[in-house]
């Protein structure tokens, strides 16, 4: 169910403002662009909805937050009618405020766009006139959406060495073992016993750890919690980098990140031509050796500053 992440060429911005979406936007088209990973809804060239099965939509977010029951959602979809004003119906019934609807809808749009864009010209079809049942709640320009998506991709790519956790069940590392790092530094350590190297966790990451049952993947957790799939990937990769989430046992080979490889020219190179490396042995991040654990986190910090 999880889509493969789009090619890295999107990072270099060579799709920015142009591409298939840009072309239909320039023609002020109204209808849907259906690609391999999902569907982009256009109204007079502006994007007002993006759907991707791997990402919780606005209705799933509202249901998970307890703001909208499944029957109410169903009634709204039925009441939307040919004019497709499901969004207006939800607000008129007093089930949602217009502001809640707008924030949820834009959040879901941004989230889905990350997985759906860029649209592949060979496998995308345009259906003129097709409309989403929620109707046009808010819309954004295609160029702004492509820019936002490129920035999100660059941010996630900083944690590329931990991409193996994207598709695997999220398994938290035994907290006792990770506490051992701080303790094993001992009073003789230059950092003292307060353990300045203990990995820190954000509130959202803590919530993910609480819900990680060792079976659900980041995408499934995003659906269960009704939150952004992109932010979930970012958080889970961050947790893996901090050694708090286990790397899957059989990691796939990834293109090697070389010094200076962050330049746009390098990114356009075909991944096959790049030298390959294998993810560190998953056991490495669980080691009780404080020096190795420190090195792993130091590398994360350095990559984040690239």
């Amino acid at each position: 169910m999880a889509p493969p992440l789009p090619p890295r060429s999107a990072v270099s911005g060579d799709d920015g403002g142009s591409g298939l979406l840009g072309r239909y936007a320039a023609e002020r088209a109204t209808g849907t662009l259906r690609g391999p990973n999902g569907c982009v809804y256009l109204s007079e060239g502006a994007v007002y909805c993006v759907e991707c099965p791997a990402v919780p939509g606005p209705d799933a977010r509202l249901t998970a937050a307890g703001r909208l029951s499944a029957p109410s959602r169903q009634r709204a979809a039925e009441a939307a009618g040919p004019q497709r004003r499901g969004g207006r119906f939800l607000v008129e019934q007093g089930w949602l405020t217009q502001g809640e609807l707008e924030i949820c809808q834009l959040g879901a749009l941004l989230d889905a766009a990350f997985f759906v864009l860029p649209l592949a010209p060979g496998s995308t079809t345009f259906t003129p006139g097709e409309v989403h049942w929620l109707g046009v709640v808010r819309s954004v320009s295609a160029a702004a959406l492509q820019e936002a998506t490129a920035r999100r991709r660059a941010l996630l790519d900083r944690l590329r060495p931990w991409a193996a956790v994207d598709q695997a069940p999220v398994v938290p590392v035994d907290p006792v073992a990770s506490e051992g790092w701080g303790r094993s530094r001992g009073p003789g350590g230059s950092q003292g016993s307060t353990g300045a190297v203990r990995p820190a966790v954000t509130g959202r990451q803590r919530r993910l750890l609480e819900h990680a049952d060792g079976r659900r993947t980041p995408y499934e957790l995003a659906h269960a919690l009704g939150q952004s799939a992109y932010l979930t990937l970012l958080d889970v990769r961050g947790l893996a980098a901090a050694g708090l989430v286990r790397l899957p046992a059989a990691p796939a080979a990834l293109p090697r990140r070389r010094p200076g490889a962050s330049g746009a020219d390098r990114r356009t190179a075909a991944p096959d031509s790049a030298p390959r490396w294998h993810l560190p042995d998953p056991g490495v991040l669980e080691t009780a050796d404080p020096d190795i654990a420190l090195l792993a986190r130091l590398r994360t910090a350095l990559e984040e500053n690239l």
């Binding site: 808010r138 920035r151 941010l155 939150q227 932010l231």
Partner: protein, 124 residues
């Protein structure tokens, strides 16, 4: 005018010295809503640029393991105040409010108070 802009407009009209205000997603830099005179101050550019400020500060807080969360950040220019306030929805929405104030006319304490109320109104 959509609801988000309405909420921002209300905030602008009740905050003395407000020049512009925006609601921004801090992983993509996209402004979900902006209000203000874009001739004097391009809020979309400010929104995208300030995502790095927010992320850096959040990251620093994590590294320091400080208890509590960021309520707001104040950046003081010679002629302006910029206040950044992360939106703390229960879903960890990844949004922040960005308010630009004219330093000569603004009352900082009142502006912060009003921005906190705006955040509560926008919370999902």
């Amino acid at each position: 005018m959509a609801q988000m802009e309405k909420a921002l407009a209300e905030a602008m009209s009740t905050i003395e010295g407000a020049i512009g205000v925006a609601l921004v997603d801090y992983t993509s830099g996209m402004a979900l809503a902006t209000l203000g005179d874009n001739q004097t101050f391009d809020l979309n550019v400010a929104a995208a640029g300030n995502t790095d400020v927010v992320r850096a500060k959040l990251r620093t807080m994590e590294m320091l393991e400080l208890q509590g969360s960021i309520e707001d950040m104040l950046i003081t220019l010679t002629a302006q105040y910029h206040i950044i306030r992360p939106v703390t929805g229960k879903n960890g929405s990844g949004l922040f409010l960005y308010l630009v104030l004219d330093r000569k006319r603004a009352n900082l304490a009142l502006a912060r108070h009003r921005l906190a109320r705006l955040e509560a109104e926008l919370e999902v």
